[in-house]
């Protein structure tokens, strides 16, 4: 895994975990401190980021 992959993956995963925690802690609903819509946006970006880094790692492994 490249350094960029590691940093990007860690940032995405951290954002996802923090968002899920904040959403859950404030009632897990649209009118909580973090709205359901907000959680979905964060999750969307995070999962795409993780997928990109995963795919990049796979391509690098194959190119070895």
């Amino acid at each position: 895994m490249s350094r960029v992959s590691r940093i990007g993956g860690l940032v995405a995963l951290t954002a996802l975990v923090v968002a899920a925690g904040l959403w859950w802690e404030s009632g897990a609903w649209q009118y909580g401190d973090l709205s359901t819509r907000g959680l979905v946006r964060v999750a969307g970006f995070s999962l795409v980021a993780l997928a990109c880094h995963g795919l990049a790692a796979l391509l690098r492994r194959r190119a070895r």
Partner: protein
Amino acid sequence: MTRATFPSRLLDGFGLVCALGAVLSLLYYWDPTRTAFKRLMPGGDARFEHIPADTASLPVSEWVTIRDAADVRDRRGRLLTRIFGAPTLPRDLMPQRVVRHIEKNPGKHHTCLSPTGPAVVHLLSRMDTIIMRALACEAAYYRRWRNLAGIDELTGYLVKDWYPYSIAYFRPKRGNGRLILYQQGLAATYHDQHRMIEGWVGEGYTVAALNMPGYGDNTCYDQRRYCRGTLMDARFGTKLAMAFLPPVVAVNYAMAEQRFRQIAMIGVSSGAWVTLVSAAIDPRIGVSFPVAGVLPLAMLKGKEESAREIVEGLTDIAGVLDLAVMGADRSGRRQVQIFNRYDRCCFYGPRAAVLAPLLAEAARKLGGRHQVLFDETHARHKISRWAADRIMEAVNGSGTAAP
């Protein structure tokens, strides 16, 4: 060692951008950081921190014209005549139809427009279906609430082929003798506040939840369920009665079911205006909480102007400030107005601060109590946890917002 190919580098770069997007989304959507953004944005200081010059120069002290109990009686009688066609509150008026345990037996109803459950409805539904969420469709999702004995649907048919009213009456298993009327505002239904209502029921409050006319079940979308049979008296088919009759019926029904030691009314946005008027005309409402709404008509700006039509036809009898004082017109009656200081929609900023001492003094002279609070914990148009905590302190007579 791996050899970085162009596609993998591209994916890494795109992944990093998305990771940053996740962080920015988190900062944008989380209330504390969003509030900080709002404060720092250009014009934020003028919008949220200072009283505008055109507001500061208004003759607000002249707008409180209620002086004593006789004034209150006179205005209340005139308001009731304007709203209900008679100078007394229709205390004997009951719902035309009551469906007990709607969470178990919803009965025949129209196709549900947002049958997704409260948690995901905002993600999977269009706005025009969100504002039409029906109790018969949603009640099953509330069945497992802690301490919920049952939900009653209270309805009446107001305007032929056009408007019924529908009230959701949540009964707790172990009640605490307190009733909360919750009035939702525009562009939403009380189903959106399911967590808050669930919390109240869990703590033993009986809750009557209401929508604005034209929202949720307050339309003839479900013609067969709500708009058949005998119409109510024509005097209740007016625009004013459509908005202000349901809270009266909810209290009538609740009082017939059991005695309550406290009746509170909470309304958000346009619901705050209904709360303002309901508390003014119905002294049975002990404490009232207009949230994220209610300013004198001369102070309204932009989107806030839409609230004007809710009280149209009433403010020549009692202005907005007089209505507020009438909601706290005697010992034991109290009104707490809560404004979201950084509200991204409307009723933002410290404008209400110029009114607070006037209202407090006018209510004090009558024996009641009026308070204005500013919620600085978020930048949305909602009732926050902070506001909900202050409200419950006032309802229960505990904490910093206690009497």
